[in-house]
Symmetry: C2
Subunit: 362 residues, 2 copies
């Protein structure tokens, strides 16, 4: 059988890891300040990296919490509230791992659909009108996982306005913000309202996921309770990894790395966009994103996901179950990651998807 | 004022870190298999390290879960049960961080006192007689934190017998087991009953805490539910750190390191034991442990801990609040760590403690 093509997980390709630079970084760290990174330490993270982040984001370093990936820091935040006490609005579709964490916290979820013109706040407004007290709105506003969509400025402004009016906070997850391949950045919610926004970001997609270094910048009043949970969970996350990231950033290598990644991923996005235009026109709807890892395709036919996954496999194509990103439904949604595949694989993958969709009964 | 002596945290001294060896380990890992440690990975841990541990403990590698310290893996285990559903017996005094995690899980706690002849099971037996259904008994059976005590073999046998009879599991936390300076090892509960014991151990005290590499060996039926929690919390803990530990162990450097540590700590234990015999006889009761980091001292006078801590500070001595290791009481208990202090500091620290206790009113 022909080689299976994995149009599934959105991970950085191995070739993108700057292994030799990382070696230099860890050597420096272990040579110059072993006692600072090999001992038990504070849960908030390696102080020089906190300072570096703080300077970049123009905030007090006391608000920066670094952990075993940004997701883990979010988990600390959620656990710092009583179980079952939170009400959280989310985009639909959205990043599935966050939904899993929200469900573990027994949060009440209010999904708001992402439409052609961006996020539709109607379900949120209805809930607020019913007297619901919202705690957080979780958004991946830049090049969302899974759709690749960019939240329009007007929607960001509306979200901030709603948050101020109704006293809720925004959790803005921005792992892809610096991976923009075309167009100009638009202000993040965090930039517009840093006092009520919890910013999540990570070095996983920028340097290497295996270092497990992610972070959140929190409103000051949430820092102490979050650190308590972090310390009680793992005392601290590895400063060895955090020092590697710090040395990498300090040397200016992050900027070099970002340049390389933007070239690599920008090219792959173009290849996928071209292949989709050629193969999928009429079969799906999609928007070509200006950055990130994914193009979200909405299938025009009323398909069943189980059947699509099965047909995909029979045609040498692994697909992600779109329903995982939805509270309900998602059968029509296919997340197409262009980050980790070679040009040929992207083209062949899209060709196979088109074949499956054309042959899909109905 | 004279320099404050910190008779507080039990951490390995900086001088014990084999920095150059660690550098060699990370170089090999990043050179030979960067793609295996820099990518997202499975929550269970770096496979070669799991295999190494499995071989050492003669178990299937599938039962080994490596995480950001063993405490973090315990947290995953506890979270894999419904909140508030667990009943857990503990030693009193015991390791305070575990108690914090048990409280977060809203576990019902049954403290059993550590007495001169070892753990007293009376409260457990009473609870069982009342019809309580026990889930776990948490013990630090070798050179306990905080008392330094070694659970006698007869008590271990009784604990295993009770566990089998009443269908509960033992969580045996053994970070100090390999740090024995005199006498012969006695079988662990895990060795006697590996099917019903959850073994916790860690490389924090053996290589370096900052690597944050700890592990649990679980009964097979608990593995899947624990891994689900781990993955949903942080996808995986850093394989970079785990690969450093693996390379260190593979080269036989762990054995060398253990030899060095046993010499270092054995000597310090002797220095502290001698100083205590000289200074504290009549003021406290204690047993000199055969290993670990601590000597637990029980003050003969009826003191108040707040007052003792205050008097300590006035005399240039930082002490740990003994009440932190107890559910109730603990005013009479002082944990004395000998691991991180130089000989002179140990002698001077004990001298100051003796002065404070002699001068304590009453």
């Amino acid at each position: 059988m022909e080689k299976m093509i994995a149009l599934t997980r959105g991970v950085p390709p191995t070739q993108s890891f700057a292994t030799e630079k990382l070696q230099a970084c860890v050597q420096t760290a272990l040579k110059d300040y072993p006692e600072k990174i090999l001992q038990y330490a504070k849960a908030a993270g390696f102080p020089p990296l906190r300072e570096w982040v703080a300077e970049r984001y123009k905030v007090d370093a006391g608000r920066v919490i670094i952990g075993t990936g940004s997701l883990c820091v979010l988990d600390h935040v959620l656990r710092s509230f009583p179980m079952g006490s939170l009400t959280v609005a989310i985009e639909e579709p959205t990043y599935d791992r966050t939904v899993t964490q929200l469900k573990r916290a027994q949060a009440k979820l209010i999904p708001c659909p992402i439409k052609k013109d961006g996020l539709d706040f109607t379900p949120l407004k209805e809930a607020l009108a019913r007297g619901e007290k919202l705690d957080f709105f979780y958004v991946v506003s830049d090049f969302q996982n899974p759709t690749g969509s960019l939240m329009p400025l007007t929607k960001r402004e509306e979200l901030v306005r709603l948050a101020r009016e109704h006293g809720f906070r925004i959790i803005e997850d921005l792992p892809y913000r610096q991976l923009r391949y075309s167009g100009e950045p638009i202000p993040s919610c965090w930039e517009m309202a840093p006092d009520i926004t919890l910013l999540m970001t990570s070095f996983s997609k920028l340097i290497a996921p295996g270092l497990r270094v992610g972070l959140m910048i929190l409103p000051e009043e949430l820092v102490a309770q979050t650190l308590k949970i972090a310390e009680d969970t793992y005392i601290n996350s590895s400063y060895v990894d955090q020092a590697i990231v710090y040395e990498f950033c300090k040397r200016g290598w992050l900027e070099e790395q970002l340049d390389d990644l933007r070239k690599l991923y920008g090219h792959r996005r173009n290849v996928m966009a071209e292949a989709m235009a050629e193969e999928l026109t009429g079969l799906c709807e999609w928007t070509v994103p200006d950055g990130g890892f994914f193009i979200g395709a909405f299938v025009n036919k009323p398909i069943k996901m189980d059947e699509l996954l099965k047909l995909g496999k029979e045609n040498g194509l692994q697909l992600t179950d779109g329903r995982g990103f939805y509270m309900q439904g998602g059968d029509q949604f296919v997340r197409l990651p262009f980050c980790a595949l070679e040009d040929d694989e992207i083209k062949e993958g899209i060709k196979r998807l088109a074949k499956v969709l054309r042959e899909y009964p109905g």
